[in-house]
């Protein structure tokens, strides 16, 4: 079980800020494929992963990274702070 969080327009497209996901995905990219296969709203949110960023346990990471030992994955667009 992994906590998956969504922010900004990713959250809006998927329609929720957070969910617990039962997955055996080895990498972030594998998890994204599983989510896209679920429903159209996920496919829409993840249509272009180059427009997305991912954090693993609150550290910026990348889509090739392993999910081994990870408890929290977050997907969001590029940040616009400051």
């Amino acid at each position: 079980m992994i906590d998956v969080l969504y922010f900004a327009w990713v959250r809006e497209r998927i329609g929720l800020p957070k969910e617990r996901v039962e997955t055996q995905a080895a990498t972030v990219a594998d998890l994204v494929e599983e989510l896209k296969a679920r429903e159209a709203r996920y496919a829409a949110a993840f249509a272009d992963v180059s427009a997305l960023r991912v954090a693993l346990d609150q550290e910026l990471s990348d889509f090739g990274a392993s999910l081994s030992g990870v408890r929290e994955v977050a997907f969001f667009p590029p940040m616009t702070g400051g």
Binding site: A8, W9, L60, A74, F76, P77, M79, T80, G81, G82
Partner: protein
């Protein structure tokens, strides 16, 4: 090295007045304040979403990197989230160093990294729509200079 992530507004003048005051080992204070701009006159408000937990970690990491690179004696980072009106302060950075070059470089470094590496997302709300602010290539490119 103070970091505050808050919904409440703040007063940049009062923050600067209380920053690193009464010290004689610093010769230079630099401050940056980001303000909600309304070029079109159409903006009703700005909304800022953030990632609680990661936000504080990311900012602490950016500050630690600045401290390792420059002779900083004090720093302040305040960043708001939630609903902000035009003209209100969004965030503030202040740095104190013996020399001005360190204070300026550290403040610009903190700003560049807060822009693109701290998990905040801005949305602009007008009478007829709400739009997420797009990240700008120049902001990502700015990281390359450090």
């Amino acid at each position: 090295m103070t970091v505050r992530v808050q919904a409440d507004s703040f007063d940049p003048g009062a923050e600067l007045a209380g920053f690193a005051s009464g010290r004689t080992d610093v010769g230079a204070h630099v401050s940056f304040t980001g303000i909600v701009r309304d070029d079109s006159g159409q903006l009703q408000h700005m909304e800022i979403e953030h990632y609680p937990g990661m936000t504080e970690k990311a900012i602490a990491g950016i500050v630690a990197e600045a401290v390792s690179r420059w002779d900083l004696r004090a720093s302040l980072v305040i960043h708001r989230y939630g609903r902000l009106a035009p003209g209100e302060p969004i965030m503030m950075v202040a740095t104190a160093a013996p020399h001005r070059t360190d204070a300026f470089a550290a403040a610009e470094f903190l700003m560049d990294y807060l822009k693109s590496r701290a998990p905040f997302w801005k949305r602009e709300v007008t009478a007829d729509r709400a739009e997420w602010v797009a990240a700008r290539d120049e902001d990502e490119d700015a990281l390359g200079r450090w």
